[in-house]
Amino acid sequence: MSELVHPYHRFIRPTVTHSSFCPGCGDGTIAQSILRAIDGLSMDMDDFVFVSGIGCAAWIPSPLFNADVLHTTHGRPIAFAFGIKMGLPNKKVMVVSGDGDLVAIGGNHLIQNARRNIEMVVICSNNGIYGMTGGQAAPTTPMGVKTTTTPYGTFENFFEDISGLVVAAGASFVARWTTAHPRQLTASIKKAIQKKGFAFIEVISQCPIQFGRKMGVGNAVQMLEDYKNRSISIQEAKKLSKEELKGRIVVGELVDLDKPEMVEEVTRMRKKAMGGAEAAVDTGRG
């Protein structure tokens, strides 16, 4: 009998024997959506360099993806990715990390590189909690929620719209989906990979262990049902008032713009520095 092999097994690092995700985690859906997008574009893993920070979502590319992967310090993957993209402008650079990593400790790198509009894909798994360290409040944890560091409920205003933040900072492509929208998510990742510019995708993702169970919002299936019920497309959302949108998750592609991209601008700048000559790279290595 022939062995059944998952169609995307070929994208997984051969030394990986198991995933580190808890049962019901949304990161599996995100991982598969990324791989589906790469496969859908008929691209190879060697066309990519993946970069991640610290946290559960960072363990999607590291070690799962069979490609060049840099697993970095907490909050800094986009800053590392900047150097990689400048060094390898012909490769696709994709950052995969969580909301704590990208929006809390690493928030400045997120908005500064959205402003630069440097070509890279940033996928943010937003579960609204610090999962890996045991369920601490994040800047994305809704107000009033009891977590291990807020036993009386969170008392800070929270980031309700991190995609909106990235739009305001100047990214040329921004989309938000939930793990209940794997097909739409895959389609947006495909667009993001092809985008000449900073492409950010926020994925509202369930953490049934540290969030769902403790917050009493249920298991993975119940959380996905909840995402489905609360989601509203950006087109529909435009027709509703702010009050009517309270508690809803606005999903879809928020922006898709053409604007100056940094790697191209650097090439232009180099040409100017060389007095208009075609860039003749002198590495100093003969």
Binding site: M86, K91, N108, R270, G284
Partner: protein, 384 residues
């Protein structure tokens, strides 16, 4: 190599500019940094020159992202550097540990300035000497060079790149505002007289599953990105294949030891000192700009018939303990001179005190290099 990279000739040049020229000569391709006094001239110079050779200087949002971008570009196969001063190093420390942990060649220039916190930006103090060695968390070894002149800002920058590439490690240049802003004659040699090194990389086409890219005390070839090596590069504890291991303490032991052994095994070939203590009873030990005052005081003392010598540490890290011992065995009294309150002094004392008397002479005013007159007074005091 083009004339744009190596501007062979004799110049009257600022130390910081000489550092930038050294980086170009060494083959630097990517520099990221954040403006800070007294290091800014290096960035300014490279922002103009690097694009002319197809490279670039990139101004980041802070020093954390500067070192991160530099490490990323190094993994993309580039020769890289960042330039800053103490406050910038304080921000970089976590990622400097990252560079050590995943064995990333990079040059870190610290043009040191006065005091903790914001301090006095235009005054040179050798205040970050131990920070370079111990600032990031965990056990590690580092390489640090201490230039004492604009010429050495050029020479040491070339050496720093070669060490970084050869040993796959961050290398510090611990200059200071005095040496960085000093203007003196700088000779840039002809291209063929400048030795440059590029890291070993695995043979193209090597099976990624058989590729040992980490934790070899003889320096593993670097599986840089974009070559099909499918490198898994993680700052988590990993084995020689790059595979993460967070459960086995023997893996941790190997991870910690191998990183340090890689430097310590090559300590003899890394270590650079200047010895001038033949027949001396009193030896002045110093590094960086202070060594100039030490040499002047020693010359005057010898004219007066006092047998005084000098030992200058060019590489302060890895700490050249053997050199200190060798010197101390011959000396009766060792005087340590630093432009700080005694940072490397305890290390020197630990090696020397078994064989000779050891004392420390701080500058009269912190931030002022020791006056040769004051050093002479101290020499006369101990020679009585």
């Amino acid at each position: 190599m083009s004339e744009k990279r190596i501007r062979t000739g004799r110049y009257f040049m600022m130390g910081n500019v000489a550092c930038a020229e050294g980086a170009l000569a060494a083959g630097c391709e990517f520099v990221a940094g954040y403006p800070i006094t007294p290091a800014t001239e290096i960035a300014n110079q490279l922002a103009e020159k690097l694009p002319q050779v197809g490279g670039g200087f990139f101004q980041m949002e802070d020093e954390i992202s500067s070192i991160a971008a530099v490490i990323g570009a190094s993994w993309a196969g580039k020769k890289v550097m960042t330039v800053t001063s103490g406050p910038g190093i304080s921000l970089m420390l976590e990622n400097i540990g990252f560079a050590i942990g995943v064995e990333t060649p990079c040059v870190i220039v610290n043009v040191q300035r006065g005091a903790p916190t914001t301090g006095m930006p235009t005054i040179g103090i050798q205040g970050d000497m131990v920070q370079a060695k111990h600032g990031s968390h965990g056990d590690y070894e580092i390489i640090a060079l201490c230039p004492s002149s604009p010429q050495e800002m050029f020479d040491h920058t070339v050496i720093a790149f070669n060490y970084a590439e050869k040993y796959r490690t961050p290398v510090f240049i611990l200059s200071d505002a005095f040496v960085g802003h000093m203007r003196e004659e700088v000779v840039i040699p002809e291209a063929e007289k400048i030795e440059t090194v590029y890291r070993k990389i695995p043979e193209l086409g090597t099976d990624p599953l058989k590729l040992k890219g980490f934790l070899d005390e003889n320096v593993a070839p670097m599986p840089i990105f974009g070559k099909g090596f499918k490198a898994h590069v993680t700052s988590s504890c990993h084995d020689e294949y790059g595979k993460r291991n967070l459960i086995d303490i023997s893996a941790l032991d190997k991870f910690v030891r191998k990183l340090s052994e890689k430097i310590l095994k090559h300590k003899e070939e890394i270590t650079l000192v200047e010895r001038d203590y033949e027949g001396a009873e009193i030896v002045l030990v110093s590094y960086g700009g202070v060594a100039r005052a030490a040499a002047a005081a020693a010359a005057t003392a010898r004219e007066k018939g006092i047998p005084v010598g000098t030992l200058r540490l060019i590489t302060v890290w890895p700490f050249p303990g053997e050199e200190i011992e060798k010197m101390a065995r011959k000396a009766k009294h060792v005087i340590v001179l630093e432009n700080n309150l005694g940072q490397v002094y305890p290390y020197i004392k630990a090696e020397a005190a078994h064989f000779s008397e050891v004392s420390f002479l701080p500058p009269k005013l912190v931030g002022e290099i020791q006056d040769p007159e004051d050093i002479l007074k101290k020499i006369e005091e101990v020679s009585k």
